[in-house]
Structures are given as structure tokens and as C-alpha cells.
Symmetry: C2
């Protein structure tokens, strides 16, 4: 690989939200690296309060298509990811994370126990809906990192909010897992010939409107 290919800004300029994909399959090792990047994403207090459903089954994708406003990248993707944050932060879940952390680090650290107490206390103050929003924000960090990782692999990854979340939750029975869908991500390869969006130049607001320096 050339250095250019590994430069994140070249990659982010290369990527765009592909509306049509070819259906070609993303190799397993490549998918593995993209998912590993998402796994390594930081999250508030390290809770990683989300799961990812990865759908390659063609029949399932077909059934999701009308739930996702008939957006063709759903069925033309190689892998359709469903980002599914926790529907709530519960003591069981929080304790589960910290028990695992202590076990991995082979000791009960007092610092960790301070964080555990902080987390238990913090999230007990909010409604389930507010906690879901918080968890969804963490999932958006992982999604951002997955978009970057895919672009570096020159794999297309279209983030999608244009779907009926309640219907998708029912269809995938997410409630029984204590999850709710927040985002889809269609992963695959752009269909340059048929995608109107491919030809459009990338537009972002200028840096001067994004960043203000306090020197």
C-alpha cells in the first residue's frame, strides 16, 4: 500500500455516502479490521453501551428494505450493520463491565471502584430515554471510527438514519436483548455507474466556520 492510501484525510475525501452498491462481498479479514476499529472506540467510562448486529443474510436485508425507506444500499450492501445501543444503563450492566475490567486487570483497583460508583450513581439519575440518548451518542463515536476505518480500507460505508427504528426493533426483536436500533451502516462497494451521488463533489463548511481559535 502507498502512504497516500493510508492517509486518513485522503481516505475521508475518497469516501462518500454511497446510495447504490454493487453487492460485491467485503472480505472477512477486511470486515474484521473495520469491526476491530469500532471495538476499540472510546466510550464514556468505558462502558461500550451498544452492540452491533451484522446482517449478511439476503432475505433479512430484503425484509429490512421497506423499513429503511427502500434505500437500495440496504440490499446492495455486503454487510448491513445495525448499531444498537442499550435501551438503558442498569446497575447489572454497569457492574458487568467493571467486574470484567477487574478480572482482565487481575485486581480490584480502588480507582476502578470509584469509577464504578460514579457510573452507578450518574446513570441512576436519568430516565431510560435520556440514558438511551447517551448510549446512542457513544455508538455514534464507534460509527465515526468505523467510517474512517472503512475509508482507509477503501470500502464504502454509508451511515443511515433513514429507517423506522421502532419497526426495525420489532423486526429484530431488539427489546428482548435490551437494545434499540440507532443507526444502520451499509458496508460494501459503490456502484459508480448507477449512483447519482458518486458524481457530486464533496462539500463541507469551510474550516473558518467550523473552528474558532481562542489564542
Amino acid at each position: 500500500m502507498t502512504t497516500e492510501k493510508l492517509d486518513i484525510n485522503s481516505a475521508l475525501n475518497w469516501r462518500y455516502a454511497a446510495k447504490r452498491m454493487t453487492g460485491a462481498v467485503v472480505p472477512q479479514d477486511v470486515m474484521g479490521r473495520i469491526l476491530e476499529a469500532a471495538r476499540l472506540a472510546p466510550s464514556g467510562i468505558g462502558l461500550q453501551p451498544y452492540e452491533i448486529l451484522m446482517i449478511t443474510n439476503a432475505e433479512l436485508k430484503k425484509q429490512i428494505l421497506p423499513i429503511a425507506a427502500n434505500q437500495m444500499q440496504v440490499v446492495e450492501s455486503s454487510h448491513l450493520l445495525v448499531f444498537a445501543p442499550w435501551d438503558d444503563y442498569t446497575p447489572e450492566r454497569i457492574n458487568g463491565v467493571f467486574d470484567y475490567l477487574n478480572q482482565q486487570r487481575e485486581k480490584v483497583s480502588t480507582t476502578l471502584d470509584r469509577q464504578r460508583q460514579f457510573a452507578l450513581n450518574y446513570f441512576s439519575k436519568f430516565s431510560s430515554e435520556e440514558n438511551f440518548h447517551h448510549a446512542a451518542k457513544q455508538a455514534h463515536i464507534a460509527l465515526g471510527i468505523a467510517v474512517a476505518a472503512a475509508a482507509l480500507e477503501r470500502v464504502d460505508a454509508t451511515p443511515m438514519e433513514g429507517f423506522n427504528a421502532q419497526e426495525l426493533d420489532r423486526f429484530l426483536d431488539l427489546k428482548s436483548k435490551g437494545l434499540r436500533s440507532s443507526m444502520l451502516m451499509a458496508i460494501g462497494y459503490r456502484d459508480e455507474a448507477n449512483d447519482w451521488n458518486f458524481k457530486l463533489p464533496k462539500v463541507r463548511k469551510p474550516m473558518s466556520e467550523l473552528v474558532t481559535l481562542y489564542q
Copy 2:
């Protein structure tokens, strides 16, 4: 640079949430690339509904320190970023984005006008608070990408929610700009000797608990 250095998963394993930094300054070209990655982040309907305040002024950082639970990375950072989503989606803001887009693409596209109408309609249905949550989620995507970009540069970037957002908003007069703070990010260089967090092994939940395959 070696390929290893440019691999995103090596970079994400290298990074961690630095709690102590040395105060050394991140060169301007490096900062420029990190901010450019954030600028290129995707966002819902391309609205980029956030700004970033970048604070290098030592006096300002000192005043923010108590607002951010006295977390030392605030004053030991090179650049302290404040992610500040729009406090609401308004017709003016949405029209501003689409007017700019049409101008950049040198024509009024009907597809774009469909998206404009969709956006105007969509966000008019929600409360300011819900719209702020939505905008904050977009900012989290940009934050995730900035974390990845910084790691690829081997620059530390600690995402921070441990601050009093209302106080910070007042202190930076964000209301007058129609913004609210959602996240801080301390950018700089880890202080390996003094950071207890540096020595701890990275822990993430196993892939099997993150991803479920529907084949």
C-alpha cells in the same frame, strides 16, 4: 513513516484517555490534519450541526479547569477543543447549509431541494432539546473521527464529558452563538511518568459480545 504507524487499529491500541499531559505543543500542521478529519466527518443530511472552539490560551484553560472537575488534562493539553453542537435546528440554519451547497455545486439540484424540504420538515417536529441531542450525536461522529486521526498522528486526544456544560456555556457565552457544549477534547502529549492510566492495559469487551452475525 512505517506502515505499522499508519494502521488504524495499531493507532487505536496505542491511544488511551490520557489523564496527564506534558503541556508540549502540537505543531500547527498536525492540528490542521486532525481538524480536517473532523471537518470531513459525515453528518445527517450533511448539516454539520456543530462548531469547535479551540482553546490554546493558558488563562482560559485555567479558568475552565474547575468547570471540568479539575481534570489536569485541561491545563496540560496543547489544544483544548470544545465540541459545541447547535442548540437547535432552525429553518435559517438548514437553508444556510443548502444555499451554500447549491452555490458550491453551481446549480440548484432538485434532489438537493428534496433533501432541503425533508430536513426543514423533519427537524420542525422535534423540541429544541431533542434537536440538540441529534446535533450532539453528529458531533460525536466527528469526535470519533478526530480521535482516530489524532491516534494516527500519535497525538493524544482525551474525550471528556466530565465538566459542567451549563457553566461552560455561560463562561464561553455559547448561548449568543446558538451553541451548547457537548464534549471537551484535550489534545496533547501523554505524561507517561505521572499518568496512572498509562500503565493500565486496554480492555474492551470481546468481539463476540459486540457483534452478532445474521448469516
